[in-house]
Symmetry: C2
Subunit: 611 residues, 2 copies
């Protein structure tokens, strides 16, 4: 059978150990004269995926979800999680130790205002919170008559005796044939942006931006080839890259030294303080820069200018080489996905496959391309009611045998040097219900509305988000997540600054790659999502047009399950789009797969409806 | 012929006098030790339409547009206007006295930063700027090393010797049969909002909110029945209404005294200071409260809490009586508009009608209802290229004879005690071009997309705005304004807080009345807009719906010009909507008009297409 190498299915169970850990933390806090301490799920660079050494929240509480915060006081401890994790958290934490609060409805700030006593000192690690976040906490503490106290080194590190070592993943060069623009040219453009911002220097605190600017990749966190490193780019003069020297081979070091000084990470704070001492204005990324950085700058007498990371937009707009790479990666990935879908259709109806089997098979087909570097996130593989859990992660305990009649949802992606992929397919095992077909069709209509949208230059993601919902709305349905996120080029599968969502305030520019993934989730029953990646391109010219127009090219190539489509709900234009898409899937993927798979693909992509 | 009573067509020409006025202002400023002074187009309550006594900007500069700011320095003077007025301003001002700057691209803040010298003192009247606006100006002055200085009384008033007296329009009671909820009940609900805001009192500075809360109307500004008055509503105890006693007859005074203390306007500041002295927290409306109010509160030791006016949302959600009134007002107004359209179709092809004739005729038909209190804004009556000027106001100088072949755009509304109307129709005189028909049809498709939109409770105007644009976008076209604004109930034709536009962040709630008015403007050629008012209502129930759904009921009843519709561009659903709308227009308006008009209406509303 197949095997998953990039994903585990363990049921983390730290619960039994957490009561003692919390007690040790309280003793440590008392020793330091602190009333309490706040523990976010975060590292120093606000990464989405954390190295094991940064999983302080998980170690302290047992909770393994992707978002959460804990506060430990002498007599109380509380963990905040959002709606996705309200069930999971009760399963993972020790209810005698932690109360549970809702991260959105009663966020830490609200809790602090009512729960902290006057005179209390709440510690926080200024390296793990952005300045905006720290300011909110400070305000809440002040409202309670308490104080927020920067606390270094992190008290958890003092008591976490078997804490894993920080990662030392080797840094590699991201070759020009993938990057499409050499680092010197990128840094020149970055300097132009620094000048526009009237800053003296830019701190690059988002590792995605470090990787992009220096054309390097790393291996420090799961699923994204990020090097944990900081950089400072002065408006004039030589940039400095702060990275553990043990991560650098000679070739890489030599190449980097042509562009920048490479320095050990502990030098970073000292150099930053030197900018402050010289009264310089340094731009910090509001979204990823730790509060500690602003403190260092300001205390040294400089000016920390907080705002958007200018690299985020530059990185989001892919160049021709990256676009060609994305198309190649999607053909390759599509072939692996099609092999999986064909295999799944043969095996699933026998009623023996599990969700974990599906993950392992899909990863194996991707690995067999010979080019897979990692999966781009832990595969979501949910059958029936598990498919209705929006961010479901299968473990040995939750693993479900896929029944001969149910919907199966699989959301996955691959990291290839030429591109990052992300695709969701919903598959009918057995005969789907009329309701499931109707709702799948409405999700598909939303997907097609985005795929075919034509919009003037300057249009934001927020302005088109509702196109994906309109058909669901008409039936009194909706989905409680954004329609699409930005995707990196052999980088993070979630990247800013653009998105297709209510909050997508950034204009969609040609060259951006985003996901198009409307869905529908029926709790306890099934989940539906149809996700392709799309590239913003110029729309075909229109006579009389007064504005430059954009549209999307769909990059992802794999069949959409025809058995779930209610043709009576589709317009002729929608059916034409679907048939044209399936024809392109067959044309591109057909030559890349074995005969048995190709036979399956022929059937899966044959035109719908009578024309 | 017809005559317009509520609108003039004069070409204001103050230009010749402005150089001397500016010199007198400079002398007055020097006397007061000020370097310069900033003159917004605003009164003390940030009204859209100003009484003549508040037209300081027009008096000083000659400029009569609806938005603008001037700054006068010893050697320079500048006027800022937006894109709508760049041509008009050069026509109206003395170019030897004033430079012209772009209000949006180089706003006063930017100009101040680069044009004020260190040590300069720029005066501003704190009654004419909101606190947010004043803070921006102060920041810009500080960046220039200058200071922003509150200046009372306004130095223009000191030199404007023939300044008109402030208005003393009589206050009338807005009867319960129109208001639908008595003032005592409204004030009780307002107190509930004050408690939710944790404030001790609410200052009502928006006259629309004063009128709504106390069920009164006034006659102080053109086109909106607003009483210029302030109010303070304490969380507990008796409200106070600050209004010139000369505006109150005995009946009105007695009715008001049952609800509140009525006090003279000059007491307002003293009472507000008393709240401050008692260390109370008073809520001020961020959008309409003058900076002077926050200053009074804070200097007296209280806390000015700036935020949204809670009455804005209460007022926007119409009750059943107001909704019934709106339907009645729209039937009555529709009959007047239909009489106008029939008359216009008879007269226009002869090539003798002017834009002013059309305004006068339409107003006359409305007056003949016997119920018209005022027009709700100066009618926009634009033929051919004049129709392409988005906020065109016809004067004797610009007045155009309507050619036998061109498009004519007319945007108008009426104030009736039971409702405020606002309607735009675009009419083909002679045979329209294929281009005009195609573009009109795309605007109509956008109009229908809004009219038929179905969306879950909680959806904002921003989320549906693009539905109105999608069809234009597909042809490389767009319109550079919002799709819709809120409309009052015998109040301002533009009211907050909801809108259908990119910035419409407020949820559309059942009972709100908004305009639905996509358009298309071809500079130098023609303008198109199709505007109906719509009411947010519950959508018909849908089986399986998981969310409460809303949709719109179209209130406005008048034919949409069939001669401008290219049926080949319409879907069958769109044609069905149009035919059903026209059938409803005929059913409702037919019985209200004379036989000749009814014959015209029969033809104008006959079904399109073959079914």
């Amino acid at each position: 059978m197949f095997e998953a190498q990039f994903q585990t299915f363990d049921d983390a169970d730290e619960r039994a150990a957490t009561a003692a850990r919390v007690e040790r933390l309280r003793a440590e806090l008392a020793r330091r004269g602190l009333t309490g301490f706040i523990v976010p799920r975060a590292d120093r660079q606000q990464n989405e995926y954390l190295p094991a050494s940064e999983e302080r929240l998980g170690w302290l509480t047992g909770f393994t979800g992707s978002a959460g915060v804990a506060i430990v006081l002498p007599e109380r401890a509380v963990i905040f999680v959002d709606g996705r994790y309200t069930l999971q958290v009760r399963d993972q934490i020790d209810g005698d130790v932690f109360e549970v609060a809702h991260l959105i409805e009663t966020p830490p700030e609200t809790w602090i205002e009512t729960s902290l006593s006057a005179g209390a000192k709440l510690g926080y690690d200024p390296w793990l919170h952005t300045t905006d976040a720290a300011e909110k906490l400070a305000k809440a503490c002040a409202a309670a008559g308490a104080a927020l106290v920067p606390t270094e080194p992190n008290p958890i590190d003092a008591i976490w005796t078997d804490r894993p070592a920080p990662p030392l993943g080797p840094v590699t060069l991201h070759e020009l044939r993938y990057a499409g623009e050499d680092s010197a040219a990128k840094l020149e453009r970055v300097r132009g942006e620094i000048a526009k911002l009237k800053a003296d220097a830019l701190v690059i605190s988002n590792p995605q931006s470090v990787a992009w600017a220096f054309n390097i990749r790393g291996a420090d966190v799961p699923h994204a080839p990020l090097p944990l490193a900081f950089a400072i780019v002065p408006r004039e003069g030589r940039p400095a890259l702060y990275v553990d020297g043990r991560k650098l081979g000679n070739t890489v070091r030599d190449a980097l030294e042509e562009l920048a000084d490479t320095r050990e990470p502990h030098i970073f704070a000292r150099d930053l303080a030197a900018y402050g001492g010289a009264k310089q204005s340094v731009r910090l990324d509001r979204a990823s820069a730790a509060d500690a950085l602003a403190k260092i700058m300001n205390q040294a007498g400089g000016k920390a200018q907080s705002g958007a990371d200018p690299i985020a937009l530059m990185k989001a707009v892919k160049n021709d080489t990256e676009i060609a790479g994305a198309r190649a990666a999607h053909a390759r990935d599509g072939a692996a996905v099609v092999r999986f879908l064909a295999w799944f259709d043969r095996e699933a109806p026998r009623g023996k496959l599990t969700e974990i089997d599906a993950v392992a098979a899909l990863e194996s087909f991707r690995r067999e391309t010979g080019r897979l570097k990692d999966i781009s996130f832990p595969t979501i593989s949910g059958a029936g009611p598990n498919g209705a859990i929006v961010h479901y992660r299968v473990t040995r305990k939750t693993n479900r045998v896929i029944a001969p009649v149910e919907l199966f949802l699989i959301d996955s992606g691959g990291q290839y040097e030429d591109g990052t992929t992300d695709i969701t397919r919903t598959i009918a095992v057995g005969e789907p219900s009329a309701e499931a077909r109707a709702r799948f069709t409405r999700v598909l209509k939303g997907h097609i509305a985005i795929a075919t949208a034509v919009f003037p230059e300057g249009t934001t993601g927020a302005q088109i988000d509702s196109f994906a919902r309109q058909s669901l709305w008409a039936a009194g349905l909706d989905f409680d997540h954004g329609t699409g996120h930005g995707v990196g080029s052999y980088l993070s599968v979630h990247e800013g600054p653009a998105s297709i969502s209510k909050r997508g305030a950034v204009a969609l520019k040609r060259g951006m790659i985003l996901s198009n993934e409307p869905g529908y989730y029926k709790a306890g029953a099934y989940g539906i999502r149809i996700e392709n990646l799309v590239l913003v391109i110029a729309a075909p010219p229109v006579t009389g047009a007064e504005k430059p127009l954009n549209t999307f090219e769909t990059l992802t190539l794999a069949p959409i399950d025809r058995r779930l489509i209610e043709l009576a709900l589709m317009t002729p234009e929608e059916i034409r789009w679907l048939n044209a898409y399936h024809a392109r899937v067959f044309e591109t993927i057909g030559p890349l797969v074995d005969a048995e798979t190709r036979a399956w693909l022929t059937a899966a992509t044959r035109p719908c409806g009578a024309h």
